[in-house]
Symmetry: D2
Subunit: 305 residues, 4 copies
């Protein structure tokens, strides 16, 4: 597959793309980003890699961190985590309390905020220094020791914590949160506030690729195939809030978006691709990011379907 | 891949499986089936095929017909159908009115009952003799002219039509149904009442395999890759009512179940597999069928993830 | 109490009232009414009565009929009816399916459409000729043999039956409707299609006044005090769709509205008052009607609170 | 009316009442109460008063405080409060988040927890020392300077604050709470933790009686008739969680219950009656308390209906 020429053709096509999306502003720090930033990085199992635009500029990964947290919790706690969080699409916006109340404090899946708060609570039960340990894990899977938290973003999230505090308190009331609510929120907001580039994200997500056992250096950091399969399934069914069906339909890859404008997607055994464009569509996903990934799977003719 | 030995090992394992499911009885005709029936048919793109148990015995395909109806509607009406039905998981039971009311008569996806009723209404706008034409389409893609409606099942569905009549009238009220409610229900119940075997189903669903263009005899009946991709994405995200996430998680294939106890699943470019065991779990999917498919993708080590 | 001077002052005040409401048009027949019509009739237990404007012009009573149907069902079937319909405010619009689904086909109260359909079904179980018998009951309590159905309104309702058909089919599915759906709808739509004037309505509703036993001619038609108390309680908590709290708050009387623009309210042991002005506010209640009744209880200084 | 003989007959009848209710235990302090306690106090506008059982023993008034808080907020802030809280029955349990989310942080009425939290927030904007000032108001209307907070109950509520903290944070997120969440909760829990007897409650609630102007000593503390009318309407439509319709139906008086087992009800211009029995029915209202009040209005033959 000649990825370079496909990427070139995509770059050409999107040069005239009229973005109707809006940069997230629910916390001021996110609103400061340049709306015209665009980056893409493709990392293949063969070792080949390709880049477009601002591929090495770091941005707030936000909800993309939920996949990393889930993989870490599965490594540490195994399948016991599924007693506290379900694996079904929610059919509701990412921060909905309605479903959580009807379903007695068990979040629908680990990629809605409520689910990620439970995963955070689980991690806290297994880590001595949660924030430090988590950062080490991220650096390890991304193979880059410079990755760090953006503390001003984390602080801003804490200042506007009310919706997430409502979710966390509701789960606490149902007995599905063991630690102090503010401690859980602080750790959760730090996860969201990690700054990474498309290059770093596409490297980190190779742990979900299920690729052959030859590559020993990487092997150590790779998830067991059965865990990677499950996380990929969750990304495909639940990775894009209440637009997950649309993404599966148009792009056809497991993936995860964040309100910082990033999207990571992957084709098991083949490649990871990360794209970044801050303006979000009405459902909270990067408008241009989704367009680019749709073009990519259409032109390669390869998706999981 | 030595499919035969994998299937043999599965058959051995399930011989001691304790089924806790229950045969559907909401219409008396479905309740008459022998709960111990079990069949499986695997149809590979290579032409190889494998069978277990009652693979050639016909049963009521019920909601599996929704995939066939969707493929026919897409062939006839193209992407215009998405103005009348969405592509998102519902997060609610298959016959829920709640979501339909909140979302003004636009069903969440074509695989919940409301969505299938809209697809039925669309087909009626394109077919001269809907029931006859639809049967010809099914016979054509399954390459078997003996397939037919089970009229006693269709009549029984009509006698217990009230929940579906409620859905249909609600959509009619919202303006999302063009034909007479009872005519739509009659055609819809006939689609559900088609009787097919695992062998016939696994053959019919090869139209979604996106396989290479060499096989000219089959080619004529195969869907365009872009349509197959979309239907596969929908099966993966919405094919198992509110257990779709669980199926993706455990099995990892696009598929569709029916309350007659059948499940069809497929791996694009590789194979279709149909399995049949009448007792259903609490979510309405064949308990043993899901177990068998989970064993199959675990032992082959191949899923779309 | 000098009712005449109070009514005169109200008429003066509303002469400059700017109505922002809209005449109901969901069936064409209702839309034909003159939006400027206004009538009021006050019937006191003393026998005194007072009128304003078009007090003797007949209009479609619509949902006001639900109170009459309930009183008739209570007379015929007694408290057994409460096994099939509850007595709580719904907190949702009058034709909502959501609550009905969550609550397994038991309507919240007899004054939402679903509840009135159940009451209709109950009446059918006790009446030989439902439509004739019901009309006799209405004529009897209103003491006026000229009252009749507006068949063109009933026919128009039937033609646009879909939302109510959805409700009825859902209850049928839950086993809370014994008769044929279309027969229930036909009888229900006839009840709604009764044409009465403010004068006739204020006379009919005196059966709920619980007034002293001296008046023997009327006594025969009056409800037992315990039944009248219950119906009055229901009118106060549930009589104005999801604006019942507002009506209790501003007017402070038991009452019932209809989309034809009529409202009947009453003060137990004192008077009935009926008012008619077709334009409806956003919640479906007569805008001017509510205003007039608020002025009336404010100026008399008398409400049940 | 010979109230004494009616009360005697009620006491006799309930001596054999088999209580199936359960004492509230969601906070340990409430669970410590003796389930067999029973008190009743009737305070008439004439000055007459009557008592049964433990009429002077103090208990935790809990949600009964919501009516007192509302009256105080109306005195201080007038009708501006209705911009932040609605006046409709909720149709959902008293602590439901669902409706609050759908309705953008505006609680349905001041008697569900969310609404009372908003009222608390409003009071904080008008009071220099909220807890002290509120206590003075209660002592003033009850004409008893010994009334005080039960600090152990307030502390226990704070320790189990999570459901209310979830509500408060959600409203904070919607912008409908101006003060610090924990400060609002602390003040709110103190209101709930006031300890009063039936005698004190029936005295305090005379401010809602709208009685003649002759009694000058009391007059100073009495609410304006227009405010009393509105609060009475709210008690009738919303005073008993999702059993408000049932209470209106069986008892027919404005009233308010608390999970401490108390109920206060009143007949405008005639009397206040307070009753206390700790075991609650499934909807959270005193089972015996409702029974006694139903007997009372049935045997006197007087209710607002």
């Amino acid at each position: 597959m000649n990825y370079q020429s496909i990427l070139d053709s995509i770059q050409k096509e999107i040069s005239s793309f009229k973005n109707t999306g809006k940069v997230a502003t629910y916390i001021p720090e996110l609103g400061k980003v340049d709306a015209h930033k665009f980056g893409l990085h493709l990392q293949c199992v063969t070792g080949e890699h390709f880049a477009l635009g601002d591929a090495e500029e770091r941005f707030s990964i936000q909800s993309i961190s939920k996949v990393i947290s889930l993989s870490y919790a599965l490594k540490l706690a195994g399948n016991s985590i599924w007693q506290r969080v379900d694996v079904e699409p929610s059919g509701d916006p990412f921060n909905s309390l309605v479903q959580l109340e009807y379903e007695k404090g068990i979040p629908r899946n680990p990629f809605i905020n409520a689910g990620a708060l439970v995963i955070t609570d689980i991690l806290m039960g297994h880590l001595k220094k949660p924030k430090e340990d988590f950062l080490h894990y991220v650096r390890d899977i991304a193979n880059d020791q410079t990755i760090t938290y953006d503390e001003s973003v984390a602080a801003s999230e804490m200042k506007h914590k009310f919706r997430n505090a409502s979710l966390a308190n509701l789960m606490k009331d149902f007995g599905n949160l063991q630690h102090n609510v503010d401690d859980v929120l602080d750790f959760y907001f730090h996860q969201c506030a990690i700054a990474m580039s498309c290059k770093q994200l596409s490297e980190a997500f190779t742990i979900f690729l299920n690729y052959p056992k030859g590559d020993h250096s990487k092997q150590a950091r790779t998830l067991e195939p059965i865990l990677a399969k499950r996380i990929n399934a969750l990304m495909l069914t639940c990775g894009f809030y209440d637009e997950s069906g649309e993404f599966a339909f148009r792009v056809g890859l497991p993936g995860k978006s964040g309100v910082g404008g990033g999207i990571v997607a992957l084709h098991p055994k083949q490649y990871c691709i990360a794209v970044w464009s801050p303006p979000l569509n009405a459902k909270g996903n990067s408008e241009l990011g989704m367009k680019v990934l749709e073009l990519f799977t259409s032109r390669t003719g390869i998706s999981v379907f």
